[in-house]
């Protein structure tokens, strides 16, 4: 699962998980799973979240860091 900054941005905007869920059209359980990194969202959901928090998907989901971590794992795997 990939690292993300959903919780950080949500707290910055002083929103509850339920409020974020209502704004992006999913259940609060989905937002909880997203914040814990247990669930990877669809492209559209990631985009809706990025728009909500006035940021980019790359920043919200730390794509550069996650890509580096993945490349590192792939290099070290047999």
């Amino acid at each position: 699962m990939i690292k993300n900054r959903v919780k950080e941005y949500r707290q910055q905007h002083r929103l509850t998980q339920q409020e974020v869920a209502d704004m992006v059209g999913v259940s609060s359980r989905t937002i909880i799973s997203l914040e814990k990194g247990q669930y990877n969202p669809s492209l559209m959901l990631a985009y809706r979240l990025a728009l909500l928090f006035h940021t980019s998907v790359e920043d919200l989901y730390c794509l550069a860091e996650n890509k580096q971590a993945e490349d590192h794992i792939n290099e070290n795997s047999p």
């Binding site: 059209g25 999913v26 259940s27 359980r29 989905t30 799973s33 669930y39 969202p41 669809s42 959901l45």
Partner: protein
């Protein structure tokens, strides 16, 4: 009054129909406690589903339960795992019945083996058809 959740409304109508059918059965054949309980349950479920289908807030909750992407993802994974388990169990049962028939020559085991093998073949055909459909349309 507007129907906000059509699927819930249809489900309610189905429960209502079942409840009426049970009542007709009671009228035709006489009252039994279990049928009375079943009819009561059917009418309660019908009332709940139909009422919820007219409520905008409830309809929104129900439709969210149907469309939430994580729920759909979990349903898909659950269905896949359940299908794999069922197929493995059925294959094991088919082989076991084949061995039991070969040892005992009992027609009972032969019949059960044919049923189990038929189910295995049918499920394979259905999976193949579904796979071909999604390969073409996705």
């Amino acid at each position: 009054m507007k129907i906000h959740h059509k699927r819930g409304f249809v489900r309610g109508v189905v429960f209502l129909t079942l409840g009426i059918t049970v009542l007709l059965d009671i009228w035709a054949k006489g009252y039994h406690t279990r049928f009375g309980l079943v009819a009561t349950l059917m009418f309660l479920l019908a009332a709940m589903d139909i009422t919820r289908s007219f409520s905008k807030v409830s309809a929104l909750e129900d439709s969210l339960a149907d469309t939430d992407e994580r729920d759909q993802y979990i349903i898909m994974r659950t269905a896949r795992m359940a299908l794999n388990i069922l197929q493995s169990l059925n294959l094991g049962l088919t082989l076991l019945l084949m061995v039991l028939y070969s040892l005992t020559n009992s027609p009972m085991f032969l019949g059960a083996f044919i049923l189990a093998a038929g189910y295995t073949v049918l499920s394979f055909i259905i999976i193949l058809a579904a796979n071909l459909y999604y390969e073409k349309h996705e």
